[in-house]
């Protein structure tokens, strides 16, 4: 359920709405609707929508709809919300002769259709109809499902007739109150006291959620719909990191955690089939990133489902802006799904218009959470929507993506990053050994160490060791990089190992580490630092790192001359 409380929404009514989009909504109900109206207006405010509401008096549906001179028509609504509550309907049902009850749904449907027609014969306005909450009176017990004279049978049939009816009546849109009831439950949605005393069939606890559904539909009327989902790959579309864990190591498929990712992929594919464009934005080598799509038997999404596939090492805000420009759609019509809070915050701060769900920590909860947000409301659907992904399938000019984004530096400064650099200590041996075993991508020589080897090295005078930690204003990343320096002779220090977690890539950590290596080399009286890159199938991303950091390429080695070496620019403090 959305987290905003009713009392918060109520306070929004006093706030200034200058500059907001405007919308006139009329509300007609056979129950008390004042609090509902408060919630809808208050929620509309959070979506920068200035709602003017005409809230008809209690139980005035016919008086308003059938009279051309009524306040409803002089109000000139953009939409009319019709709320006929189940509880009232049940009272009608009880006073219906048993012989007539099998016609109850049909008769009420005809009455509702009559109201729609009355309204639309006078003004061509959209009509929002609440579906009926399906509650049983337990008079028949479960047998209610088996007899057409039970209330449950008739109320379910009435909802079905409404669905049919609004397909024929193009101006009518259902807001599915019964869905809300089935998700959150009768005990949350309904409170007997409120109904008996105030004729309110909805609690103030559920009103914000109901208001959201109404405003979502109004936003769709205004064309504010989502058209594209950009997804991250590692730990979002599958469990694990393809560059480190490899094709056989990632989690996808029927088993365990993989199942959660499969279900998410199925859902994304359903979105694609209904016309939502899918794009990928991943920090990866393109070949590595595409491998699961082409070679993993359990992948649901295929490359042809993805309109634009961007996998490189640039920051994601830049990549997303390129995707948006290529598709030529509004940033506010894009949803970005990424498991990593850093990436989400980065993109959010540089592109405030984009929608970025704050995913739960547990991947098993991603899908339910995304469904709850109801991001993909629409006011229309046609066959041409289905093929949209293919229409948009375009090859991105990757060189264009290399343009750097001006304010990335400002973003990094704002992160308040602080790193530490320390020689290995016993507490860290297990983590250091584990990182050396696991890191494949940012790993210059891919030397694997076990814990006892790490211990030995850290006590050996021929070695200088450093481990790095990083924190920023969003959290602590812990131990993220390991450097092992070997004294080759009294002049030269050799970088036997440099590995780093890809989570902290491109934030100035590379620069910070190199500066630190040089500083330590100087303190210990060396003249040169020598680095080496040993190619593996997975570490191409660091092939050029030493040159980028100011080392000179000499044969198969990279050399930093400490007399002339210039410090690299970084915004990370120590």
């Amino acid at each position: 359920m959305i987290s905003i409380l009713f009392n918060e929404l109520k306070k929004n009514l006093k706030k200034e709405t200058t500059g907001f989009d405007v919308f006139n909504l009329a509300v007609l109900g056979n129950c008390s609707t004042q609090h509902l109206v408060t919630a809808i207006k208050g929620y509309a405010y959070t979506e920068q929508l200035a709602l003017t509401v005409f809230d008809a008096d209690y139980n005035q549906i016919e008086a308003q709809a059938l009279n051309s001179a009524s306040e409803l028509y002089s109000f000139c609504p953009d939409a009319v919300l019709l709320y006929i509550c189940t509880e009232r309907l049940y009272e009608d049902f009880c006073s219906t002769d048993i012989s007539q009850r099998e016609m109850f749904a049909r008769d009420n449907f005809e009455y509702i259709k009559f109201c729609w027609a009355q309204i639309n014969s006078r003004i061509m306005t959209k009509i929002i109809q609440f579906s009926f909450v399906e509650v049983d009176d337990r008079v028949f017990g479960n047998y209610a499902n088996k007899t057409n004279i039970s209330f449950l049978y008739q109320i379910k049939k009435l909802n079905y007739l409404l669905m049919e009816g609004c397909q024929e009546n193009k101006n009518v849109y259902l807001v599915d109150l019964n869905h809300i009831n089935s998700i959150y439950g009768r005990k949350i949605v309904f409170d007997c006291n409120l109904y008996y005393i105030a004729k309110m069939p909805l609690t103030t606890n559920i009103l914000p959620e109901v208001a959201k559904q109404v405003v979502d539909v109004i936003k769709a009327f205004k064309g504010l719909v989502k058209k594209c989902v950009i997804v991250d790959l590692d730990n979002t579309l599958w469990g694990g990191v393809i560059g480190d864990d490899g094709l056989n190591g990632i989690q996808i498929g029927e088993l365990g955690l993989g199942h959660a990712f499969s279900e998410l992929q199925k859902w994304l594919k359903e979105l694609k089939n209904r016309g939502i464009i899918l794009a990928v934005c991943s920090k990866n080598n393109e070949i590595t990133a595409k491998e699961p799509f082409t070679n993993h038997p359990d992948m649901i999404l295929q490359l042809q489902d993805i309109a634009i596939f961007v996998a490189n090492w640039d920051d994601k805000a830049t990549n997303i802006m390129k995707i948006q420009q290529t598709l030529n759609i509004g940033m506010d019509s894009i949803v970005f799904i990424d498991d990593n809070p850093f990436e989400r915050n980065l993109v959010r701060s540089l592109i405030p218009e984009i929608t970025i769900p704050e995913l739960p920590v547990d991947p098993a909860l991603y899908l339910d959470y995304l469904k709850e947000l109801n991001l993909f409301e629409t006011a229309s659907f046609s066959d041409s929507d289905k093929d949209r992904a293919r229409q948009y399938q375009v090859e991105i000019n990757r060189t264009a993506l290399l343009n750097q984004f001006g304010s990335y530096d400002d973003y990094l400064i704002g992160l308040d990053m602080v790193a530490t650099a320390k020689p290995f200590d016993a507490f860290q041996y297990p983590r250091i050994a584990q990182l050396s075993q696991r890191s494949n991508q940012f790993n210059l020589r891919t030397v694997r160490y076990i814990e006892s080897e790490i211990e030995k090295i850290s006590q050996d005078d021929d070695y200088l060791t450093i481990y790095f930690t990083l924190t920023d204003k969003y959290g602590d990343y812990g131990l993220i990089s390991v450097v092992i320096l070997k004294k080759q002779n009294h002049n030269t220090l050799f970088i036997e190992t440099w590995l780093m977690s890809c989570r902290v890539l491109k934030r100035g950590m590379e620069e910070f580490i190199v500066n630190k290596i040089i500083e330590i080399a100087r303190e210990n009286g060396f003249d040169h630092v020598v680095g080496e890159y040993l190619k593996t199938p997975k570490n191409s991303m660091v092939a050029k790192i030493y040159e980028q950091m100011g080392f000179a390429s000499v044969g198969d080695k990279f050399i930093a001359d400490l007399k002339t070496f210039k410090q690299n620019k970084t915004f990370i403090k120590e």
């Binding site: 009392n7 609090h35 005393i197 609690t203 103030t204």
Partner: protein, 82 residues
């Protein structure tokens, strides 16, 4: 929780519901003393209090409470019986 504690928390609920930080309720406060306290806001107030103190009023109590003092008595009563 003492009667004073209940009053303090209850006052916060009143301030939130009526969006007025100057509100200060006592035993004899009634709906006449607070401008926006009509039958509609009474419902919202009752629900907010129920949520805050994790208790429920009966229908009779909701309609018949005469002043804030009675309200506090009911809240304290529910706490003892819990």
């Amino acid at each position: 929780m003492t009667r004073e504690d209940v009053f303090q928390e209850l006052n916060e609920v009143f301030q939130d519901v009526f969006d007025d930080e100057t509100i200060s309720v006592n035993d004899s406060t009634t709906s006449k003393d607070i401008e926006d306290w009509d039958s509609l806001e009474h419902i919202n107030l009752v629900v907010s209090i129920e949520k805050r103190f994790k208790m429920k009023f009966t229908m009779g109590e909701i309609t018949e409470m005469k002043n804030v003092g009675e309200m506090v008595n009911i809240i304290l009563d529910r706490m003892v019986s819990k």
